[in-house]
């Protein structure tokens, strides 16, 4: 599979919007949309965990050509906390309950929109990486925190 591309991010944005999916880009992919220069492999989206939103996600993923079986669709519709998709045109992680973030509604209120892409506030991205406390996050956090300070200064 090729690397995730801008046009695929546009497809997520447009199809999710059309299906009225409430979501935010999160993690490094979110930070990259905000201007953070780094590398990553897949896109992570924070999605609201409600029955209506989960049903809309399933429809949106099918429209994006993810090959969901009925069982997989049912798992998403039931509302898991984390779903990893490798059965579509690009890799996508659905995060329903990211570490370090109180809930979707508070993150939604603080969201940043860049070219129509809804993105978690960089403070929330840093908070979730800090709470996840993985080896790879530990390595990237000082640089990400420096970006947060830079971003806040430019967006006062």
């Amino acid at each position: 599979m090729a690397a995730f591309e801008y046009r695929q991010a546009e497809e997520i944005r447009d199809v999710f919007a059309r299906r009225e999916v409430r979501f935010l880009f999160i993690g490094k992919s979110g930070a990259i949309i905000l201007g953070y220069p780094d590398t990553t492999q897949d896109a992570d989206v924070f999605v609201e965990k409600t029955p209506a939103n989960c049903a809309a996600i399933v429809e949106a993923l099918r429209e994006l050509d993810f090959g969901l079986t009925p069982e997989q669709a049912a798992e998403i519709a039931r509302g898991k906390d984390f779903v990893q998709l490798r059965n579509g045109p690009f890799d996508l992680d659905l995060v329903f309950a990211p570490d370090g973030i109180e809930g979707f509604e508070s993150a939604w209120k603080r969201r940043i929109e860049i070219d129509g892409f809804p993105v978690c506030h960089p403070e929330d991205i840093v908070a979730s990486k800090t709470a996840a406390n993985r080896v790879k996050d530990r390595e990237s956090l000082p640089r990400l925190r420096a970006f947060l300070a830079y971003w806040l200064e430019r967006n006062r």
């Binding site: 995730f4 953070y36 220069p37 492999q41 906390d81 309950a97 956090l141 640089r143 420096a146």
Partner: protein
């Protein structure tokens, strides 16, 4: 970026990791951020997203975890350490 053991006087210690970022590191990072801010979003995508195969992680089409705790435990036990998904 320097480690906490480096002899240069610290200017900014990351609260979560204890890693010390020197003034020179910060200046270099600002230059990088400034350069990135001058690129279009489309270009930032082109430079940012790469593709490598992550063993185990990428070997299944679909995985769903009932809780983040379950997911973290799976990462810890199933993935190779060098991928960096284990918790500290």
């Amino acid at each position: 970026m320097t480690s906490a053991r480096d002899s240069n006087p610290p200017s900014d210690q990351d609260p979560a990791t204890g890693i010390i970022v020197s003034p020179r590191d910060l200046a270099e990072l600002r230059e990088e951020f400034d350069a990135a801010s001058r690129r279009s979003l489309r270009d930032r995508f082109r430079y940012a997203f790469i593709r490598t195969h992550k063993p185990v992680m990428d070997d299944a089409d679909f995985r769903a975890f009932a809780s983040m705790r379950e997911y973290r435990e799976w990462c810890q036990s199933a993935l190779p350490d060098w991928l960096g998904y284990g918790r500290i």
